[in-house]
């Protein structure tokens, strides 16, 4: 009996080992997140590995900052993972310029990737006419609000600047903060707010013209937009009560503040949906969302800023390029599997920009998220979309927009001087060919 059992176990171990040996390894360096990693292992790595017998996908999780540095070093040395994950097109641009990424044109044509993706998202990975990256996650900025609190007080969800300032006054009178948000732990948070004010005051068309070089960033409309942001941030203390508190408050705190009625609203990206659902969603209050209010007559219609959160590329010096292509194609071809992963994150992560119909939207996610997905598709489909800084700004002006905004808020330089510097950086980036792909506007 024991002999039979030992033989049985040996056969299983040997067959498993041989099947693993038969597969060639495909490596993917991915940003680590304690909540997300197990899902990625189960629903991406294992699901892919079980779907075929040629390749074995191995996801290596690492803290993003360390990961980006070590991946960069490895790639300079002609090594690195087979699938290169970056935080956005500005990183792809750098790798592409260095010749470190595989041209994906032939694979995109062979597998029909272009037809499967939202057009603007596809074009965000096109550099010098060829595809080098596929978005792993696309996202936008929204305004969350405490629906129960708004109903109790008969407050109207603001859609214009006047309504925003009116309701802000009422919220402050109740001893609450207008918006819950802060930059502790992630200084680039400032660019979320700058992007909102540029797009919703100056309007997406003006921002687009500035990105493609047909309008200067020193244009009065941008000056006014950032003056308004400064007024709301510094003078009015809309975010967490004061500029200093906004600097002191991080992710957990601002979610807690929103959940416990310390603030009535929150300006944030859609990556927050899962955390919101776990925070205020678990309290007695109900949350709602709305597009960010129009802040001037130049941006009258609701719009969603489009953005890429993370990208996937193939390492030109990778050991298993065919395997990497196969993994990307598996993602592009298995909409149901990808949606199943995104569902676990309430569509805050792994939102691959595949074209969806309304029947594709899962029904077992938060109703607010279902509603958002429909509205996002409708409004952006009508051409009402703006531009997030971390997707369409080259590296140098991209850092300037958040790092030096603090200098404006501190009153050390004027908005005009800030935008003058900003324009100089864009001129330099344009001269050096560092600008990023931007979808044509109708």
């Amino acid at each position: 009996m024991i002999r039979t059992l030992i033989s049985f176990v040996s056969v299983i171990i040997l067959s498993t080992s041989f099947s693993a040996l038969a597969k060639t390894k495909v490596t993917w360096s991915m940003e680590s997140n304690a909540d997300r990693d197990p899902i990625m292992i189960e629903k991406l790595q294992n699901a892919y590995n079980n779907s075929q017998g040629n390749y074995e996908l191995v996801i290596e999780f690492e803290d993003n900052e360390t990961r980006l540095t070590s991946m960069r070093t490895a790639m300079i040395g002609g090594m690195g993972p087979d699938i290169v994950e970056t935080p956005g097109p500005s990183y792809v641009k750098e790798y592409h310029a260095a010749g470190m990424l595989e041209n994906l044109d032939s694979y995109a044509a062979e597998f029909g990737w272009k037809d499967k993706m939202i057009p603007w998202a596809y074009s965000s990975g096109v550099f010098e006419g060829s595809l080098y990256a596929i978005p792993k996650t696309h996202e936008s900025m929204v305004m969350l609000y405490n629906k129960t609190l708004f109903e109790e007080n008969n407050w109207k969800v603001p859609t214009t600047l006047e309504e925003l300032e009116d309701v802000a006054g009422k919220i402050k009178a109740k001893g609450m903060n207008v918006f819950s948000y802060g930059s502790d732990g992630w200084q680039p948070t400032h660019e979320h707010l700058v992007g909102i004010y540029l797009n919703n005051y100056a309007g997406p068309q003006a921002v687009y013209e500035a990105i493609i070089g047909e309008r200067e960033w020193t244009d009065p409309v941008f000056v006014e937009a950032l003056e308004l942001l400064k007024k709301h941030m510094v003078d009015e203390g809309y975010w967490s009560g004061s500029l200093e508190n906004y600097y002191a408050i991080g992710w957990d705190d601002f979610h807690a503040q929103f959940a416990n009625r310390g603030a009535a609203m929150m300006t944030i990206g859609t990556w927050t949906f899962q955390a919101t659902q776990l925070g205020i969603g678990a309290s007695d209050d109900e949350w709602g969302w709305a597009p960010l209010p129009s802040l001037s007559s130049q941006s009258p219609d609701p719009n969603f800023m489009i953005a890429i959160g993370t990208t996937m590329s193939v390492n030109a010096n990778g050991k298993n390029k065919d395997g990497a292509i196969d993994v990307l194609n598996w993602i592009m071809s298995n909409k149901d599997k990808v949606l199943d992963i995104a569902k676990d994150f309430e569509f805050g992560e792994m939102v691959v920009p595949l074209t969806l119909s309304s029947s594709d939207i899962p029904t077992d996610i938060a109703p607010q998220v279902q509603d958002y997905l429909s509205e996002y598709a409708r409004i952006t489909g009508e051409g009402n979309y703006g531009y997030c800084t971390w997707t369409f700004w080259p590296a140098d002006p991209g850092v300037h927009i958040w790092k030096d905004m603090e200098v404006v808020w501190a009153g050390d330089i004027s908005v005009e001087d800030f935008l003058y510097d900003h324009q100089k950086m864009w001129d330099k980036a344009r001269k050096n060919g560092d600008t990023l792909p931007v979808p044509l506007r109708n």
């Binding site: 750098e94 260095a98 470190m100 200093e244 508190n245 600097y247 790092k403 808020w409």
Partner: protein, 291 residues
């Protein structure tokens, strides 16, 4: 071949492994960095020679100037506050016979903690909601309502305070060691002459621990140049560059803006600054200073 078996050459056998590692870990990267400062390299791809363009840009960079000024303020702060407190405490500790080890351990303890832990402790203490500010607010006091790390006027001093709090215990230990080397007969003679405690400190202790004291001044000046971790963790150089220092600015240029050439130029500037300080101390030694 005889030279290799020479008695005087034996020491080199022991030094060689360390020197070899230093050559690869410090020597070659330093030389590469010196070369990169004359290029526009962005960390990936082509490296183009651009002459002294980075240095021309350096002298026109208002935030680098701000960082340099902050480094100078930082150095002055460290040369005064922790040194003053450490000297006083070390001197007072020499007079304590029972429980001295407890104080020595207590003062030295923050130095043993990782910078991240020290920073988190103080960040939490000054947090407007969870920290002392929140506590005072709950009992009706308007105290520490705003974190000093997030105010432009206080951020640099707040970071220097935390770093100083971690560092001064180390100074206490090295001063105390120096003080124990002082010949006790000198104090006995001073007692017979009726010297006060301050006079004994001024005319016996301080001159006798001069080598240790000057060494501490030298390391403070040198260590103040690449100060990075406390600034990076607590404020990231903000708000509005108010706590920006050269090393953090250099990091930002290299890893946020991907301007490795420019970042190397800043590094070169720091290298020459440190070399000047070391050379100055070398000159003092040659001039007969006991250091």
């Amino acid at each position: 071949m005889k030279i290799f078996s020479n008695k005087n050459f034996v020491a080199w056998y022991f030094v060689f492994p360390v020197a070899f590692i230093h050559l690869f870990v410090i020597g070659i990267p330093s030389l590469a960095s010196l070369a990169l400062c004359l290029t526009d390299w962005r960390g990936l791809g082509e490296i183009n020679y651009i002459g002294f363009e980075n240095f021309i840009e350096l002298f026109d960079d208002r935030y680098l100037k701000k960082a340099i000024i902050n480094n100078v303020i930082w150095t002055i702060a460290f040369l005064t506050v922790p040194v003053g407190i450490a000297l006083t405490c070390a001197y007072l500790l020499t007079g304590i016979k029972r429980g001295q080890m407890f104080f020595r351990l207590a003062f030295f303890f923050p130095y043993m903690l990782a910078s991240v832990i020290n920073c988190q402790i103080w960040k939490y203490l000054f947090h407007p909601i969870h920290g002392l500010g929140g506590f005072f607010e709950r009992i009706g006091w308007d105290l520490l309502a705003v974190s000093p790390f997030t105010m432009k006027s206080t951020s640099l001093f707040a970071v220097a305070f935390v770093d100083g709090w971690h560092f001064w215990g180390f100074l206490v230990v090295i001063y105390l060691t120096g003080m124990y080397q002082v010949d006790n007969h000198l104090y006995e003679a001073a007692d017979i002459e009726g010297a006060t405690k301050f006079q004994k400190f001024r005319y016996i202790t301080l001159p006798m621990i001069r080598p240790v004291f000057v060494f501490s001044i030298m390391i403070i000046i040198i260590w103040s140049v690449p100060v990075f971790d406390y600034v990076y963790i607590l404020t990231g150089g903000g708000p509005a560059y108010s706590s920006e220092v050269i090393a953090n600015y250099m990091y930002s240029q290299a890893f946020e803006r991907f301007d490795v050439g420019y970042s190397s130029a800043i590094g070169t500037l720091m290298f020459f600054y440190v070399m000047i300080i070391v050379a100055l101390f070398g000159l003092f030694r040659k001039a007969g200073w006991d250091i």
